[in-house]
């Protein structure tokens, strides 16, 4: 039982990271029906911002987190402005290729600056408590609570504020809504800012939990978060959260109770089976093609 609880805690930690990153994919898809494949690399940039701020400015955790989120949000908005906006009317495939290109650009730039893996300074104390055989660290609690807090905040913004209403309206119809006076470009920029800053928050927490970072760290985890978003129903914010936790739990629990070599095989087979029965994801709705 202790063993199960310990693994459940591991699953919650990994799941909340996946969920945070998955939100970035799903928000951009929801509003632009475009998959921002550079998102995993923005997560990586978030981790590097954390490393730079913690190493050179020596700020504590909260300012480091906020500064990294802000920096990556600016970068996200800039990427949208420079790389994606000119292609908004272009075939969707061009935008996807551009996103992949932006991702590779980010990796390569980071590789030039940091050719070696870097060690991120610990910003949080290393305390851990053992409660009845289960070891809980402060870091795990912070990661899980902060992720859940950010997700609740996002859910509130999207459902209860004017910006959120505008986002949902644009995702419903990009042609008509601007005619009603909704500033299309501003709302898209805000969406990018929020989505990428959540990715950066995940990057900061990830670099605290796993403090060796390298420019390729976003590739694998980006793919996994993207898969989480698809499983949850891409375009659906609550779906992305659920998808992230499902993938995290499956990955950890397969290792916990089967030979760890089966992890990816079992995890992705399960996800494929799930998509057979729910092709639009768990919370996704089929969108009829408008002619």
């Amino acid at each position: 039982m202790d063993y199960f609880l310990q693994q459940a805690l591991n699953a919650l930690q990994l799941g909340s990271i996946y969920a945070l990153i998955a939100l970035g994919y799903t928000m951009v898809y929801g509003i632009l029906t475009m998959i921002n494949f550079a998102h995993g690399d923005l997560f990586m940039v978030g981790a590097f911002f954390c490393f730079l701020i913690a190493t050179f400015l020596k700020l504590p955790f909260v300012p480091t987190l906020l500064l990294s989120m802000f920096g990556v949000a600016l970068l996200g908005v800039a990427i949208e402005r420079v790389a994606y906006r000119p292609l908004r009317q272009a075939p969707r495939v061009s935008a996807v290729i551009t996103a992949l290109g932006v991702g590779i650009l980010l990796e390569s730039v980071m590789l030039v600056i940091f050719p070696y893996p870097q060690s991120v300074p610990r910003l949080l104390s290393n305390v851990a408590w053992t409660v009845g055989g289960v070891t809980i660290s402060l870091l795990q609690i912070i990661i899980i609570c902060l992720s859940l807090g950010l997700m609740l905040l996002l859910d509130f913004i999207v459902r209860r504020t004017m910006v959120g209403v505008a986002m949902r309206a644009i995702s419903w119809d990009k042609a008509i809504v601007p005619l009603m006076g909704v500033p299309l470009n501003l709302i898209i920029s805000i969406t990018f800012a929020i989505g990428t800053s959540l990715g950066a928050a995940a990057g900061v927490m990830y670099s605290q939990a796993f403090p060796v970072i390298d420019p390729y760290m976003g590739v694998l985890i980006g793919w996994k978060a993207f898969i989480s978003a698809v499983v949850g129903g891409i375009g659906n914010i609550r779906g992305a959260m659920i998808g992230g936790f499902i993938l995290g739990t499956v990955e950890i629990m397969v290792v916990a109770f089967f030979p760890s070599t089966y992890r990816d095989f079992v995890a992705f087979t399960l996800l494929l089976v799930l998509l057979i029965f729910r092709p639009y994801g768990i919370l996704g709705q089929p969108r009829p093609q408008k002619v």
């Binding site: 063993y3 310990q6 693994q7 591991n10 699953a11 930690q13 990994l14 590789l111 050719p115 070696y116 893996p117 060690s119 290393n126 851990a128 053992t130 070891t135 660290s137 870091l139 990830y206 939990a209 796993f210 403090p211 060796v212 390298d214 390729y216 760290m217 590739v219 694998l220 985890i221 990955e251 950890i252 629990m253 290792v255 916990a256 030979p259 760890s260 070599t261 992890r263 990816d264």
Partner: protein, 390 residues
């Protein structure tokens, strides 16, 4: 008019021939040697050490007036290609060096997962390839028959030997009865050495209680470490690269695991200590040589390397220097700059006194006969702990 044209074209042909001849004769005093290193990608520290030692080995020869082969002094031209930490780029780099740059031999790549594809190319093109650091047996074996390759050699010992050494060390020196292993299932090196460790440890009466895997790029090992903790081992073996080991050790310690960790030669980069800090203190790993317990040849190399690059050479640098040393000896024995002759000389080097110890090659295997050492991490340095004979 027609005659003029004929004369002109004749002149052209003659001048072309002449220039081709002069090109060949000026190239005659130069031996081209190729190098393939992991300059970028997941283990750039390995590539950097490789490049440093390679340039030093070549500069040593060129500054001394060149290498005497068959009574003639040759300058060495080194062409280093980056494989970017990718298997396909390793193979294409080998192809390029052989066909376009026309090198006499290739040194590198270092990590087994990149050395194996490059070795396949070298073998099929009949060009000598010496990997300094690839310890997986497959590097010098033909893929489907397990017969030895004819053109591929290495300067280091192989994984079965290293797996045996660490397994015996765990049992004899640390008194371990139960061992756990965590390794990267997607990498030839890690997988090979983990298997040989398990085999030997069980043969000598130990028990491998957990045998867990992950794939390259993973950073979250908490599930595997929780599982390992549950089996209560005496020692944990991590035959993984220096960029991953710190994360594995840190996560294990955070879960309350206190038993010692053991590693293999992939730990032997100064980066390990930078990334791991005090958390890897006191752990052991097997490797090729100990900088603080060196032979006179090694001391000379270490001093020169320190003077040039300002750091102690790691095992990659030492083995790279030895790989070039082996090539110089093979060239001299061959007496001519010819790929086949170099291969024949290389295959039976009777005794080479290198930085990483004495080596011997016998026809029928590309692996040298040599010994290993066990190092301990102490006060942020690698310290000699024990010798391990073959």
């Amino acid at each position: 008019m027609k005659k003029g044209l004929l004369l002109f074209s004749l002149l052209c042909v003659v001048s072309l021939l002449l220039s081709a001849c002069s090109g060949a004769s000026s190239g005659g005093d130069v031996i081209k040697v190729g190098g393939i290193g992991e300059l970028t990608g997941d283990i750039p520290a390995v590539g950097a050490s490789f490049k440093n030692a390679a340039e030093m080995a070549v500069a040593d020869i060129n500054n001394a007036g060149g290498l005497e082969v068959g009574g003639k002094k040759y300058q060495i031209q080194l062409i280093i290609e980056d494989n970017a930490g990718k298997t396909d780029q390793s193979a294409s780099a080998a192809q390029k060096l052989i066909t376009q740059n026309n090198v006499v031999a290739i040194i590198g790549p270092n990590a087994s997962r990149y050395a194996i594809p490059a070795a396949e190319i070298a073998e099929s093109e009949k060009v000598v390839l010496i990997s300094p650091w690839s310890t997986n047996p497959k590097t010098t074996l033909v893929g489907d028959t397990d017969q030895p390759k004819k053109y591929v050699f290495r300067a280091c010992f192989i994984d079965p030997f290293q797996g045996r050494v660490v397994a015996k060390f765990a049992m004899d020196n640390l008194g371990a009865k139960k061992a756990a292993v965590l390794y990267d299932v997607a990498s030839d090196y890690n997988k090979g050495i983990a298997e040989f460790f398990k085999q030997t440890f069980e043969e000598i009466g130990g028990q491998v209680v957990a045998y867990e895997t992950y794939t390259t790029g993973d950073k979250d090992f908490t599930a595997q470490m929780t599982k390992i903790k549950d089996t209560d081992p005496d020692v944990i073996f991590l035959p993984n690269y220096y960029s991953e080991v710190p994360l594995q050790v840190q996560q294990a310690r955070r879960l309350g695991i206190t038993v010692p960790f053991l590693g293999s030669d992939s730990w032997g980069s100064g980066e390990l200590i930078t990334l791991c800090g005090a958390e890897c203190e006191g752990y052991y790993f097997s490797t090729h040589y100990a900088a603080d317990n060196a032979s006179p040849v090694a001391v000379k190399f270490i001093e020169a390397y320190k003077a040039k690059y300002g750091s102690t050479p790691d095992d990659v640098a030492a083995l790279t220097y030895d790989a070039f040393g082996l090539l110089w000896q093979a060239l001299q024995t061959a007496g001519k700059v010819d790929r086949q002759a170099v291969r024949d000389a290389m295959a039976k080097i009777p005794n080479y006194d290198g930085v990483t110890g004495k080596m011997q090659f016998q026809e029928g295997s590309g692996d040298p006969i040599k010994s290993a050492v066990i190092l301990q991490i102490k006060d942020g340095r690698f310290v000699f702990f024990a010798n391990a004979e073959p």
